[in-house]
Amino acid sequence: MTEKAPIDAALAAPRGRPARPPRRESNRNIVVPIDHHPGTVRGDGPSAQSARAAMTAMHDAWTRIAEAAADEGIDPPRLAKAAQSAMERALTAADRATSAIDGRVKELETAIAAAVQPRVDPTLAAEVRAYWREKGWANGMVEAMREDVRTASAILSAPGYLSGLDAERLDTMRRIAVDAHAREHQAALDEALHARRKVETASGRMIELVAPRLREWAEPESERLAKLEALGRG
């Protein structure tokens, strides 16, 4: 068996794409994700407005940090300090909005419970549950839940088995009752929960994406050079 010359072996080897040198990313390139734009908050209620104001504060700070970072003439430690200050203000606004929305969520949950489960005489409630346990949910319970809030309250305020329902069906009945008797409150609650998620996600992403850059910028160049020199000596 003849051995191939090194040049032939090299030519015979399957060719892939030549490896590109890795692109050097500048740590001054800050991207402001558009999905954290304040215009992406749905609704016009108080929670949406709180969220939009907080998102505006964050978006504004994020954009200004990106603009300042793009200016290579700005000293990194100074940039880090100013950026941290701007971020802390924006994040404080975000946390305030989250607390306000949490308060609103509690109010709405209480309002929904009051609308769907008003107080019903315990004897009557027990009779309602016994009636449906015997009749079976498939024979008109859905309509009764929609039309008569006392029926809804009696069924929802006790374990499902007392009305002949398993946990899943009891949950379905709860949703039907809420849709019939507290639709507006539920819409406001959905809006508040969406608004809260938007603020929480944006503030979390801001910290995750920008904080590492702040760390890098905060380290003075002389310190990085000192570390390199120490490595050479060690």
Binding site: G39, A82, D95, I207
Partner: protein, 91 residues
């Protein structure tokens, strides 16, 4: 007079642009496509209205007047949970 204006295409177009520009932010947000990460404007968005400028103008209007304080020192005293998290990451 009103009939004359109704048949004036320039006037009608100006009215249409004004109606679009007066959309609340929440209405504008409905046109956001999260999957494609861009606004998908419906038919009829007037050419003369720049969506970005429109949204930015709305944000500027909602922004508090005195927020030019990026170089202020961080507020002292009580620290909110997110600020606490940021400071821990920077330690």
């Amino acid at each position: 007079m009103a009939d004359d204006l109704a048949s004036d295409p320039v006037y009608v177009e100006a009215c249409r642009e004004a109606a679009w520009a007066d959309l609340p932010l929440s209405e504008t947000a409905r046109h956001w496509d999260a999957a494609e990460r861009r606004f998908r404007w419906p038919e009829g968005w007037p050419e003369g209205v720049d969506p970005r400028a429109h949204v930015q103008a709305r944000i500027d209007a909602a922004r508090p007047a005195n927020n030019d304080s990026a170089t202020d020192p961080p507020p002292s005293g009580h620290v909110s949970p997110s600020v606490q998290r940021l400071r821990e990451m920077l330690r």
